[in-house]
Symmetry: none
């Protein structure tokens, strides 16, 4: 392993944090102490700490030290990935309708291309729960064009995107979304277990993929009263 020195120090410290050897609130060895321990100069020690700082593992306080902090995380549903990653592992998804080839619906959040419309589409519908509470209704469409071999069962880890990636080597390369606040109507309110007319979040999505002509179209309806949609962005 031909790594830079500061990268090595960074790895060592990061591992210890992740293993809990330095717990939240603890102070790392001081920069001067790191210099002595690893026979490096402060430039190198600071470069390693800078990396940890940038990634949110520590905070530095002048005159005190480098303190391990609770790592902020959460990718946004709105920036990239799927819901499972955005909310966490205590979510489960239940199929209301399993993936099935059928005609395109009359209305979609964004207009599919002619190429996509030339063939039928797959459609599936899921309800996501946090614990026992239904929180999100999800409908998805995508063209069968070039996806004739798509088999409908067994999503990897309950995740459509992971399935696309691991079984079909298709990656998400971009997304377009529109977000609205709307009244929950009959069926949606029923499924989410809330009163008709409650405010819910509607997210209309189009995902672009690494497969030519393949886009994923979808609507999400979220009951955000208890679990808002989170979004985190960092340069």
């Amino acid at each position: 392993m031909a790594d830079t020195r500061y990268r090595q120090i960074y790895h060592i410290l990061k591992s210890r944090i992740q293993q809990g050897l330095y717990a939240t609130g603890d102070f790392l060895p001081s920069e001067h102490e790191l210099c002595r321990s690893y026979s490096i100069t402060r430039t190198t020690a600071r470069k390693a700490l800078d990396e940890l700082l940038r990634e949110g593992f520590i905070e530095k306080q002048h005159g005190k030290g480098s303190q391990v902090v609770e790592r902020r995380q959460s990718l946004g549903l709105l920036t990239v990935k799927g819901f499972s990653e955005a909310v966490g592992p205590y979510v489960r998804a239940v199929f209301l309708e399993r993936p099935l080839a059928q005609n395109w619906p009359d209305e979609l959040p964004f207009a599919p291309s002619a190429k996509e419309l030339e063939h039928p589409c797959y459609f599936f519908k899921r309800l996501r729960y946090v614990g026992d509470e239904p929180v999100m209704l999800e409908s998805n469409w995508f063209s069968t064009f070039g996806m004739e071999d798509f088999h409908q069962e067994g999503f990897v880890d309950d995740s459509f995107f992971k399935t696309l990636s691991q079984k079909y080597l298709i990656e998400i390369t971009g997304s377009e979304q529109e977000i609205r606040a709307v009244h929950a109507t009959g069926e949606i309110a029923d499924l989410l277990g809330i009163a008709g007319g409650s405010p819910i979040l509607q997210i209309s999505i189009r995902f672009a993929t690494s497969k030519p002509h393949l886009h994923i179209y979808g609507y999400l309806y979220c009951n955000t009263s208890k679990y808002p949609i989170g979004n985190f962005y960092k340069h």
Copy 2:
């Protein structure tokens, strides 16, 4: 002005970029050249360049140099970006309350740090219009700590972020947001010109900045019935 040396160099280079003396695609003077020009060492020169790099003004290429690039301005993410893209230039912002130092409110979307709470905060409130229609109510807070010289009038191009960048050299480095659908209550409904109880979008925000300890806290209330919040993401 008692500033650090690398901060001065950073300031000089950034100004020249913003003035167009270094245009997009141009290379900045090499690190060694900066050392000679300003009688500094490479540590200092690199620290200045690191800042510009982190803020997205330049890209560095090993063996070539530091190149000025088109500044990525992805920051309002769901807020400003979505709006300017979705509705174009017909947006204007009207102050309901101009920036004024005052006590922190009881409740904020995210908890400010102790350092920030030690000092009063600035608060301002704006209503954004598309044409004659009010579509978004915006409230912002940030600590006066280190911002004692913030003068309240004259936002550059109506933009708070542009003002921070160009007048105070402060860049947005990240954001955290929570999005909810809520009922419009009295004052908010009035200002947005909609019926009480209408579903609206509430976005709670915390922006991180390049200035230590400075965060921008805010709430947005959006009437999305006609103009949804748009979001575009590309890998």
